[in-house]
Symmetry: C2
Subunit: 304 residues, 2 copies
């Protein structure tokens, strides 16, 4: 019977693997799905001795220091914080698609240091072999031979030069300096608020990453002066205080945890970003840029 | 005489080309230097028929449409603008390191269209051969086989598929849509305010670029709702009007000009960013990412 034959024919067709139409990608776990399915052991609590709380009028900015990549600057910033150096200083600069920067507003009458150093040699790169936990991305990068994550920080390596360094991704914190490589000390810091300025890599000491509170910095009015500096003192954003988490009573600490960059779930996060599934996504990128890999941070699962 | 001999010796030393210490790069023109030295003929004034003025409380956002890449959406947006469709709508969403988005706040009672279309097929890519003026960058890219600029817009090409598309760099403007590829019409638009989300390329219709006023969008408070949507009507940012420059009296137009992306100076701008000179820069990147190439915009040289 014609109907039967048609039916058999249709069934036979269905047995052949169908090429999906161009507009249909099969669904797959999203970044949020991967994070939700992760195991508790894949998360780490940042070391309170390497965690800074910068308190401004709108709230708290939490910065994780990366002493592996900038041991001397991390130590000097810790010393400055414990001297109360940053308390009463200000955010001085907000340049669109670039950085927000803070430090001492009074160049002519700089705030004195006690035990902290006024200048440090630049820590623009460190020996590759000193970075123990580098998890390499398979994706190629224009700025470095190898990129990946080192204990939660986006980083790059060059086996030829034997050097490794932190990458200027969104939210990374660096040390402002003058022309001389040793003219910074960590008293002037900036956070990246725009497209990753990777051409700054290896030219500046990168000391850490904002792990909470980026929107408090990224929405600050852009400064009208050269390089986004605020022109009037009243435009500057006062810094109430900067404290080490270790020096803050337990109950006042931010209860954050970060997905370990050497975990299986972190690898799955990168893959979820690299090749998104449907139905919204129509074409998977097949690539993820170092600075487009999300580094999940959440409230500690066991926090009140 | 010893003094003489020493002097001769020193002169001889100076005659030998000195290897610069690792920390010293020779100076070279900066992006600003290149722009300053450019010729008037290397600049173009954006077509008033492809230029939008979005007026919000804090000022004017200027968007250049890219009809080569999205002819139907550019035409539909032009039609909506001329219907006054956007006037009285609002910025609805501000998500950190992602996008600011605007459109109709009232999903249940949508603003009616007159001649403009409610849905359009996606213009995610266009035939490569339809893009006449592609200036390719020599730099490799992770997301596309070839990248460069087409009439001032960052773009990508794939000779294998024969397609070209606009790239999601900072300030690019795209068409919000639902799951269906044809569910957008240009009435919901977004601008990129963070690290280039290049994985959106080829998944969305990109229609243009903010050429002036990005800081008016990028500093908007982030929305507390899912995906950065504002949760309360009073948080939304009213759009006073959107007009085509062509429909605005000459004396009220923004007098902007853009460095032609097929000019020698544009190529020099990319090179100035790719390999910065000293003395501040210590290591030249040797690479520039598509979205890190500045696209210079300035007040018209002959403007009042």
């Amino acid at each position: 019977m014609p109907l039967n034959r048609l039916s058999t024919f249709a069934t036979a067709l269905l047995a052949v693997p169908l090429a999906l139409p161009a507009a249909e990608l099969p669904p797959k776990p999203t970044v949020a799905d991967v994070v939700k399915a992760s195991r508790a052991s894949e998360w780490r609590v940042p070391d309170p001795d390497n965690t800074l709380y910068m308190e401004i009028g709108t709230g708290r900015v939490v910065i994780e220091l990366a002493p592996e990549f900038a041991p001397r600057h991390a130590a000097n910033i810790r010393a400055m914080v414990r001297e109360g150096y940053f308390d009463g200083l200000a955010i001085l600069r907000s340049q669109d698609n670039w950085v927000v920067q803070w430090g001492d507003p009074d160049e002519n009458n700089p705030k004195p240091l006690k035990t902290a150093k006024a200048k440090l040699p630049g820590e623009f790169t460190v020996p590759l072999k000193s970075i123990k936990d580098f998890t390499r991305l398979p994706d190629r990068d224009g700025y470095a031979p190898q990129v990946g994550h080192a204990n939660g920080f986006p980083a790059a390596r060059d086996p030829k030069s034997g050097q490794a360094w932190l990458a200027h991704c969104y939210g990374m914190v660096g040390v402002g300096r003058d022309t001389a490589a040793d003219s910074g000390n960590g008293g002037a810091l900036y956070a990246v608020i725009g497209n990753a300025p990777r051409h700054l890599d290896r030219n500046i000491t990168v000391v850490g990453r904002v792990i909470d509170g980026m929107p408090l910095l990224s929405v600050l009015p852009r400064g009208a002066g050269a390089m986004g500096f605020y022109e009037k003192p009243e435009q500057m954003v006062p810094i109430k205080s900067v404290r080490l988490a270790a020096d803050v009573p337990e109950e006042q600490r931010s209860k954050l945890e970060i997905l370990r960059s050497d975990s299986a779930s972190f690898k799955a996060v990168a893959e979820a970003q690299r090749n998104r599934g449907g139905p919204w996504t129509k074409v998977a990128a097949g690539h993820v840029d170092l600075c487009n890999v999300p580094i999940p941070v959440r409230q500690q699962a066991n926090a009140n």
